[in-house]
Symmetry: C2
């Protein structure tokens, strides 16, 4: 009985996600669903990426959080169209939340829409929101055991951005182990190493993402 | 209709949690539910805490993970009774999982049972498992904006352990802001600063926890 309810919820979500995707395609905007644990640096990566694209791409952002508007204020400060979603307790964004949020964005004015999901390595991976691609961010300070402990997110993502590499010398983390185990779960995963603090590696990531935007 | 289903699930969970708690009380074991984001250092804190209690307290551990047995192997290596729960996708432990796991532990031989929840700052805070106290671990590398973005966990916890303080000098994180905002959500929250890498602050935390164990 419980499974039936869950199945129905997932089917309804997938249907709305497909509608969102059609809507995004028609507007000519490429959409990424950015997921990570809390505090891995999603908003910092978005800030860095936006700066790389100044004068090149028109970017919009949807911020997903349980509560608060701190992230939207950070992004809005860069002069970028931004919508804040507060899930009010829910641990992930779903397609319906995005469907309601996009009425606040003029999509035809955008080339790239970045959806920042709720900080959570589990449930966001299960819910499509209408994205072209899922991107996962992992801070190296979270440890090298994450891929095998949270496999679904590594399997569902097209790209893995490893952040905070400036802190690597002060930890015991084996970045080679992260990469090896991530690729064992998802052999086509594209992996980037960056520091949103120093800017290292941001150029390579931004260039790759730009190559996907139509 | 959806809310009804959720309410029924929560009621069933609370009922089983109360049974677990009665069972723990009768066995004379104090139980903590340890929660954090992925990679904050829950297993490292447990390792450090166990070492502090050698010859003082008899400790058992239940490890909750989506997948894998790496944490249970780490704890088992210390000669401590340990049970691994694999939730198979679920993003939190619930009372029923604990109810099933404890048949594998001889509780009368324990003074303290540490339940390591799935790494997630959201859902674990909603599900009682039969614990005497919830403890939250936050790595300072996750940033100083976490309390206002994930308020429920800070409100539900009796203690907040701030880990990885050895990395503070290499970040822009304001630990004063973390403490101030945590206390604004939960004025009675007991806060500890530790480094599971260097051992700093572990003694104070372990002494306080031991004072609660009957």
């Amino acid at each position: 009985m419980k499974i039936k309810v869950v199945t129905r919820i997932m089917e309804a979500n997938d249907r709305i996600a497909a509608e969102n995707k059609k809507f995004f395609n028609e507007a000519g905007v490429y959409v990424i669903n950015l997921m990570s644990a809390p505090g891995a640096g999603k908003t910092s990566l978005i800030e860095r990426t936006i700066k790389e694209y100044q004068g090149k791409l028109r970017v919009g952002v949807i911020e997903g959080d349980i509560a608060g508007t701190e992230d939207a204020q950070r992004i809005g400060g860069l002069g970028i169209p931004v919508i804040q979603i507060n899930t009010g307790g829910a641990c992930h964004l779903d397609a319906n939340m995005i469907n309601e949020a996009i009425v606040g964005l003029y999509l035809k004015d955008l080339d790239l829409l970045i959806i920042e999901n709720v900080g959570n390595l589990v449930c966001p991976a299960e819910f499509k929101v209408g994205e072209d691609m899922k991107v996962m961010l992992l801070s190296v300070t979270e440890g090298d055991d994450k891929p095998l402990k949270y496999p679904l997110m590594f399997q569902e993502s097209s790209a893995l951005v490893l952040n905070k590499i400036d802190l690597l010398p002060y930890t015991n983390v084996d970045i080679g182990k992260i990469k090896k185990n991530s690729l064992s779960l998802n052999p086509t995963l594209k992996i980037f190493e960056v520091s949103c603090k120093t800017g290292e590696g941001i150029g390579e990531w931004a260039e790759w993402l730009q190559s996907l935007v139509r």
